[in-house]
């Protein structure tokens, strides 16, 4: 992925600015976009916790301990325990895995399928374009969460089903954006030139059109990540996402959490902070990345 960005970047600025190494790019991003860098740090922290949950978590996330129901936050259990006596901190750490998995796979699948449809639609044009556009219109007629809700209700509660339910509403949105970019790229003189030189169609699409839609694709992907994590939490909260005993953040807030809340307010508080912080990080990062990659906004 990183190399594609560099290609797109290089084609745009090759003769204008000295080429920066990846490290220099990152440092420049951190300097000019402090909020974005902060978001990046949050994401990085979340990834580390998710990757090392096995060693970092002080307790088993699934192990119930009925002697320790509703334990207050203490030195042994920093975030307290839930109604089954499970350690909340450990569950939140394992929950980062689910949030990241659903977030990344759902937005990757949605944006990639949408992006491919968008490029095809723009390049082939004609009847296929018209057909795909109408199809996307139909999908866009459904509010995101409602469509996800309907799909999740059919597939039943499970993590991989949530991914599908969240990915499908992303497809038409990604297709729209990528199609628009691909259409304008297609009109460039250099595309006309390579096609006049007799380059095969596959080469034109892969070498000359796709690299130029990579920037909007990446912007889209990061923009959808936070939303996907939030959608997973909402679906799990509504009982349509991950099923017990999966340590999903949204699930930890559902059902019994509120009825025990008066007795044990830490049960709904900590998972909510985890969701908010994670989504906040992705949104901050995505926002700044858009500013940095979008030529229209550059220099502002």
């Amino acid at each position: 992925m990183a190399t594609n960005v560099e290609v797109a970047h290089a084609t745009a600025t090759a003769s204008l600015a000295p080429r920066l190494t990846l490290v220099e790019e990152v440092l420049k991003f951190a300097r000019t976009k402090p909020l974005g860098a902060g978001g990046g740090l949050i994401i990085l922290g979340m990834m580390v916790v998710a990757a090392l949950a096995g060693t970092l978590a002080p307790y088993d996330a699934y192990q119930a301990d009925y002697a320790l129901q509703f334990a207050r936050p203490s030195a042994e259990h920093w975030f307290g325990t839930d109604e089954f006596g499970r350690d909340l901190m450990s569950r939140i750490m394992y929950g980062a895995r689910i949030a990241l998995f659903v977030g990344f796979t759902a937005s990757f699948i949605g944006c990639t399928i949408g992006g491919l449809l968008g490029v095809t639609s723009a390049y082939v044009g004609g009847r296929l374009d018209l057909l795909l556009e109408r199809l996307m219109d139909i999908l866009l007629a459904f509010p995101q969460l409602i469509l996800a809700l309907a799909i999740a209700s059919i597939l039943g509660p499970a993590v991989q089903n949530v991914v599908i339910a969240i990915a499908i509403p992303i497809i038409p949105r990604a297709a729209r954006v990528v199609r628009a970019t691909a259409l304008s790229v297609k009109e460039n003189v250099y595309v006309e030139a390579v096609s006049a030189l007799g380059a095969p169609q596959a080469r034109i699409v892969l070498r000359h059109i796709v690299p130029n839609v990579v920037a909007p694709y990446i912007i889209l992907l990061t923009a959808q990540l936070g939303g996907a994590i939030l959608a997973e939490a909402a679906l799990s909260y509504l009982g349509l996402g991950a099923a017990e005993p999966t340590p999903s953040w949204g699930l930890m807030l559902s059902g019994s959490a509120l009825s025990y809340a008066e007795k044990a307010p830490w049960i709904p508080i900590f998972p909510g902070i985890a969701i908010s912080l994670g989504v906040f990080g992705f949104n901050l990062f995505g926002d700044s990345l858009r500013d940095a990659l979008d030529p229209k906004l550059r220099g502002r």
Binding site: L35, R134, F142, I146, L149, A234, L253, E262, G272, F280
Partner: protein, 318 residues
């Protein structure tokens, strides 16, 4: 303008037809037998096969798929969406009972969000890249990051622990007792409105930023106008256009907000109706609601586009 409206209305037909078809197909993919579910599902013990067959026939499930499809479309045209499997009432009646609450919640939340968002977004744009801008951006990005249902849970928690408040059980329409109505609605309205305002703030900020770079703004500055006059009289007025669109298109966002917020606050509105119907596997209701929400969404988008044309004299639709 008239041809444009006509064209848009005609384009709505295939979209809505497609939406109706998609909803129909989704509901047919569902595993399990609706008739069986009515008798209590697989766990209900022995069920008389004759009764089951009779129920299937009554629901029209033994008709060929094409006939079922035609029946559904014909029903949609007559606003007849069948009856709820759970209550036996016509879906449309069940819907109308719950509509006032959701409409009130949606309207008030939109108002709250606009009151918060427009001054904040404008301030952030005018003071771009200062601490004011950073604070506003962090608040608005934060508003998007915090799940609506969690804000709801925390609100209820605070009210219960510190004020001994209990969520009221029955909806009082504002025309019956405005005070009782308001005391029930204020918390959900603030919960949805705050989240909604995050989107609007960001939009206001970026459109004001764009407008501030226009030539006529430079002219206004050059004339020696004071900042307040430039920003409010010249910039804000023109920046409002995309914000109006947003308030419309974010209807989807609002519906999502209603679904979770009504569930948290146990309000008997459309949003919770969807969730309950899904949970009870009340498929006719799910099918009808999803379709009607899609229709509302398409209609609102059209209205927004028309407002857009109305407000901006430069836009000429063919």
């Amino acid at each position: 303008m008239r041809t444009y409206i006509l064209k848009r209305l005609l384009l709505m037909v295939p979209t809505l037809l497609g939406a109706a078809t998609l909803v129909f197909l989704i509901m047919r993919v569902i595993p399990g037998d609706v008739a069986l579910l009515i008798f209590g599902g697989d766990q209900a013990g022995h069920i008389d096969p004759k009764q089951l067959a009779a129920m299937r026939q009554r629901l029209g499930l033994d008709d060929p798929l094409l006939v079922q499809y035609a029946t559904w479309l014909w029903g949609v045209l007559r606003l007849d969406f069948g009856t709820s499997l759970w209550t036996g009432q016509p879906v449309i009646e069940e819907l109308l009972i719950r509509l006032p609450l959701s409409l009130q919640l949606a309207l008030l939340a939109t108002m709250v969000s606009v009151i918060i968002a427009i001054p904040l977004g404008m301030l952030a744009a005018v003071r771009q890249d200062t601490w004011v801008d950073y604070v506003v951006r962090v608040i608005s990005i934060g508003g998007l990051a915090i799940p609506g249902f969690w804000v709801g849970i925390l609100t209820i928690l605070t009210l219960v622990i510190f004020f001994g408040w209990g969520p009221p059980l029955e909806f009082t329409p504002p025309w019956v007792d405005p005070w009782a109505n308001l005391s029930m609605m204020i918390w959900p309205v603030l919960t949805v409105g705050y989240r909604f305002s995050a989107v609007t703030t960001r939009m206001t900020r970026s459109t004001v930023l764009e407008v501030l770079r226009e030539d006529y703004i430079r002219t206004a500055w050059a004339k020696g106008l004071r900042e307040r006059a430039v920003v409010i009289r010249h910039a804000l007025k023109n920046a409002m256009l995309p914000v109006i669109t947003l308030i419309g298109t974010e209807f989807a966002f609002l519906i999502g907000g209603l679904v979770v917020t009504e569930t948290v606050f146990t309000l008997n509105g459309i949003g919770r109706f969807v969730v309950d119907a899904v949970a009870h596997r009340d498929y006719p209701v799910v099918q009808a609601l999803v379709f009607l929400i899609a229709t509302g969404f398409v209609v609102i988008n059209l209205l927004v586009d028309l407002t857009y044309a109305w407000f901006d004299p430069r836009i000429r639709y063919r």
